[in-house]
Structure formats: C-alpha cells, structure tokens
C-alpha cells in the first residue's frame, strides 16, 4: 500500500502538553518537517527558551539545550561558535525574545550570528498565566494590564521584524501566521528558508509566527483565530521585512 502520510522523524513520540487551539503544535511540526526535509536532524542543536515552549526539548528529536529566560541567542551563539557545522536554532516566545532577551536578540542579529530563530508572538505571557507581553496590543486586557494596555504608562508593543530588519547582520526577517492552510504553507517555506540561510552561512534569520493563546486570551480556539486575524495582523502585518537574497536587500 502506498504511504500517503508519515509522522516526521524530527519529532519524538512525547505528546505535546499545549492547550487546545494553541499554535505551538503547528509550528513545532513545521520546524520538524523542515529539519527532516533538509536532512539535518543529526547535526541540529535546538535551544528551548523559558515559556510554554520550554518543554520543546522533549519534543524535537535533535540535541537540545534549555536556556535561561531571554538568553537563548547567547546560548545558541556559544553552541554555533563551538561547532560551526551544527545547525542551531532557538525557539522563543515574545516575553523571552522581546523583553528580557532583547539585548541578546539584537546583538545576535547584528553580529550576523549564523542561527535560525523561531519567534512565537502571541501577545501574552502564556506559561506564567497571561501577563502583559512586550507585544501585547494597545488596550489588550491581561493579568497585569487589567484595564487594558495603556500606552501612556505601559508603552507600545514592539514590532520585532521591523526592528531587526534595520540590522546589517539580519539575513531574513519574515512575519508569518498559521491560521489557514495557505498561511501554514507560507510559514513552512519561510522556516525552510531560515534554515537554508544558516546552512548557506548567510547570517541571522528570524521567522516571527503570529500565534494564539486561547487559554490566556479567554477565547475558544476558533475565536482566537478570529481575534488574531482581526487584531494582531493589523498591528503586525505579515510579510518579508528583510531578505538579503531579494533584490536591493531590504523590503
């Protein structure tokens, strides 16, 4: 009988602990499929960051290191510099990457550190129970912005791809989402490009995935996808913000 579907070998058999409607599962799957298709699982080292995805070290079938909150780019730098033949990726949330780890992120990018960064932006701190994130939208109600994010006192959300696209070391900065089959396919293509860039030694690649957090948003999975489309994509437009392969280099 012809095999029409196979589970990617780059994922272990450990069941995901993620909530229903959370997009971590889809993104894990895409990263794993890309590692499989590029045939690099055996030489890959992943860096799990603090947040819901910290347990990703149990899910990916490659060597994994768990980093301190925000420090994944520094840990990845150490791994990559020690064994440059390794394929090294970080998997980071918005609190990790854009708040506590912003210095590590900006400097890894500006050094053109030859790593691939998967950035999950769901506008909230998931693991600690739904606090305001650096990417929480203006007016967004969270546990620590109970009256809605007031930009006068809590500042404005950070647009990470736009920010990193200004740095010469960034090879690819692309924002995607996984709310539809079409967008899942675009996301996979972007992730694959991010890893291919590393193999081709092109520098720092970041793929920002606009994601959901139904549990902490207080919405059903279906409502979450709707909220993502109607609110997040307006503030965080999808697209390629930097691609050194594209003509002229920048968008």
């Amino acid at each position: 009988m012809a095999v029409v579907f196979e589970k990617t070998k780059a994922l272990t058999d450990v069941p995901f602990h993620y909530c229903p409607g959370c997009t971590h599962g889809i993104v894990h799957r895409l990263v794993a499929e890309v590692l499989d298709e590029l045939g690099v699982v055996g030489q890959t080292v992943g860096v799990a960051s603090v947040g819901c995805s910290v347990f990703s070290y149990n899910y990916f079938n490659c060597d994994m290191v768990q980093a301190a909150h925000g420090r994944a780019p520094a840990v990845a730098t150490g791994i990559k510099r020690a064994v440059p033949e390794n394929v090294v990726f970080t998997y980071q949330g918005d609190g990790d990457l854009a708040a506590i780890g912003m210095a590590e992120t900006v400097h890894a990018a500006t050094r053109g550190e030859n790593i691939t960064v998967i950035f999950i932006n769901n506008a909230i701190y998931g693991m600690t129970g739904g606090q305001m994130a650096p990417t929480s939208l203006p007016g967004q109600i969270t546990q620590t912005s109970p009256y809605g994010r007031d930009t006068a006192t809590a500042g404005h959300p950070i647009r990470v791809c736009e920010l990193l696209s200004t740095l010469s070391g960034t090879a690819l900065a692309q924002r995607v989402t996984v709310d539809s089959v079409k967008n899942v396919n675009i996301a996979k293509k972007a992730i694959k490009k991010g890893f291919q860039n590393q193999i081709d030694k092109k520098g720092y690649s970041i793929i920002e995935v606009v994601s959901t957090c139904p549990t902490n948003w207080g919405l059903t999975p279906e409502e979450s996808m709707k909220w993502l489309r109607e609110n997040m994509l307006e503030y965080y437009p999808l697209g390629v913000y930097k691609d050194i392969d594209a003509e002229g280099g920048d968008k």
Partner: protein, 354 residues
C-alpha cells in the same frame, strides 16, 4: 624545563588557558581583568579559536554555557560587579551539570565599588554565586605562577565532576608581573563527553542539557546526586599550603594576595621568636578543613587575614569549632594590608598569650 618568562598576571592566566586547550572565550570589558579579554582577542584568532566580545556579562556566561554544552573547553572572565551579572548563568551551568571556567579578578565592592584589589567576593564564590543548592570548585592563586598552574587544574576538576570552576584572583595578582613557567603538558581536555549537545549524527540517542525539573522529587534526587559529587570533591580535592605550621602557636589563615602580606609578616615575627605559621587555602571550596585541623594540636590562637570585613573567618571558625579563639584582621575597599599591620596583630596576639 621550560623557559621562564616575565608576564602580567591576567595575561599569564589567559595564555595558560589557551595552552591547555581552552579556545573559546566570551567576555566583556571591566577593570581590572580586561587584559584577559585583550590577550584572548589577540591570540585566539591565530590559534583557530573563538574570541567574542559579548553585549553583556549575562550574554557572555550564557555563550560559555552553550559552548561547553557543545563539548569544548570554554571560559569567561570578569571583575566583581560583572561576576554578579554572571550569577544567573553560573546557576544554570551548575544545574545543567556542565563544567566551565569563570575568572573573577576581584575589586572592591559593593555596588560599583572601586577598582583596587579586594577579596570581598569570598562569600559570593564559596557560598552563593547564583540561586539554588550548588557549589563551584574555587581556586585562589597567590602568585602569577599559580595564575598559570590553576587554569588546567580548574578545567580538569570541573570536567571530572561536571561542576563549574572559578579562579578567585584579585586586582593585585591580575596587574602585577612575575616570572612564570608554562607546563609541558598541554591540552588536558577529556575527549569523551557523551553528554555533549553537538548533534547526535543519528548515531546515539539525543542529548538534552537542561536544568528544569518540574517534579520536586525528581529535582531533589538530582540535587542529592550532585551533593554526593560535592562530598567526593571535599574528600579528594582540598588543597592548602602549610607554611611554618609544625610548631605554630599562632596560626594565620590567609589566601591569595593577603597571604603574600601575611607571609612576610610571619618571617619577621619568626625572627622575633614568635611561633607563628600560616595555612594558606588554595581551594576555597572545598575549604581545606584537613589542613586547618592538622594545626589544632599546636595552635593557641588563629588569625584570619583578609582583604574584606571578615568572610573566610566564618569557615575557619566552623572548622576550629570553638576549640581555640579565632581572630580577624582585614582591610577592605581596595586597601591592601601592610606587613607591618599584620606583624602588629601577631605581636599583640603573642603578647596576650605568651
């Protein structure tokens, strides 16, 4: 026998690291340790190594974590305020059972403090460089030769027991020059690191370097297992120099720079007929309890000489355990005690006692 060369402490330490196979250095500028980073930046690219000036001390120690997880010898260096910033990473290194070398060329504190030599990070190094139950292997050099010799030792012990190591130096040893000789035996790194996360190549199960354990019983068992290793280190790795202690009635305990001062005071006091000697801890953790214990039969009094407000004296008192009085003399803030000051202390103790 290798030729002796005149070198500055910080540079000698850096050269020793390169010679024993540490080719991955991550650091950040801070006085009085910056010569280590500068030397590494000059030498490592020519040795096929990696010098990286990190964006912060926090990043530097996490780069060390990554490199050491990938299986190579790696180090970072800093001075007191910078070492505080590294404490998070050191705790993760300890919690992940990784070896790594951290250098602290101490200066006065707290806060930004000063830039002159100090020993006021003794507690930090031996009790709590970071959160959680853990220890580091801590060596205290007192000469530039020891700045050289302790580098391979720190790596070897750290790799054997999979614990972070620290060389607790100070601004005096970092900045002064002395003739040194480099060991003949070069790269002593152990080849087999089956725990390393450097790609399984589809030939072994995946490795995970991790310090997160949600189940309390699991975490407790891991910590207990680590403490069994600490007990082995305590039993096998204590080091101290015993100087004129055979008949010593006054036993000075001093490490690093202050032991140099104490040594000259002891020589003068001996000429005056005072039976004084010194135990110089070389390992600050494990604390050399055995060497202190050996002096109990002749000792009438102990005097701890430190460049702080009295930190190691706690450990001396724990060993002496009330059997003899333990006095303290120290200068702090970057002030180095003079031999005359220490001699006065010895004379006073001798006068009171004899």
């Amino acid at each position: 026998m290798a030729e002796k060369v005149l070198m500055k402490g910080n540079e000698a330490l850096a050269e020793a690291a390169i010679q024993c196979g540490c080719k991955h250095y991550f650091g950040y500028p801070i006085t009085p340790q910056t010569e280590i980073a500068a030397y590494m930046s000059k030498r490592l690219p020519k040795e096929g190594g990696v010098f990286l000036q990190a964006e912060s001390e926090v990043a530097a120690i996490n780069m060390v974590l990554g490199a050491t997880a990938a299986g190579v010898r790696s180090m970072t260096s800093s001075s007191s305020p910078g070492v505080s910033l590294k404490s998070e990473g050191v705790s993760y290194i300890a919690g992940s059972d990784l070896p790594a070398l951290i250098i602290n060329v101490q200066r006065g504190g707290p806060g930004l403090g000063g830039i002159q030599p100090s020993q006021s990070d003794y507690w930090q190094a031996t009790k709590a460089l970071g959160h959680g139950d853990f220890q580091m292997f801590v060596l205290a050099p007192s000469t530039i030769q020891e700045m050289v010799d302790f580098v391979p030792l720190a790596f070897e012990v750290g790799e054997k027991y999979r614990v972070p190591s620290m060389i607790l130096s100070d601004g005096m040893l970092g900045q002064m020059m002395e003739p040194v000789e480099f060991p003949e035996k070069k790269d002593t790194a152990i080849a087999e690191k089956p725990w390393a996360t450097n790609g399984h190549q589809n030939k072994r199960p995946k490795n995970i370097v991790n310090s997160l354990y949600i189940e309390p019983e699991v975490l407790e068992n891991l910590v207990k297992e680590r403490y069994e290793r600490y007990e082995k280190i305590k039993a096998e790795e204590q080091r101290a120099e015993e100087f004129m202690t055979e008949d010593a009635e006054i036993v000075i305990v001093a490490f690093g720079a202050s032991s140099r001062v104490a040594r000259s005071a002891i020589k003068t006091a001996r000429e005056e007929g005072i039976k004084v000697g010194m135990v110089r801890p070389i390992t600050l953790w494990p604390f050399p309890e055995k060497a202190i214990e050996k002096t109990i039969p002749t000792a009438k009094k102990y005097l701890c000489v430190e460049m702080n407000m009295g930190q190691m004296v706690d450990d001396v008192r724990l060993v002496v355990n009330g059997r003899k009085p333990v006095e303290f003399f120290g200068r702090t803030g970057g002030v180095i005690p003079t031999p005359a000051e220490v001699l006065d202390q010895i004379r006073a103790l001798a006068g009171k006692e004899m």
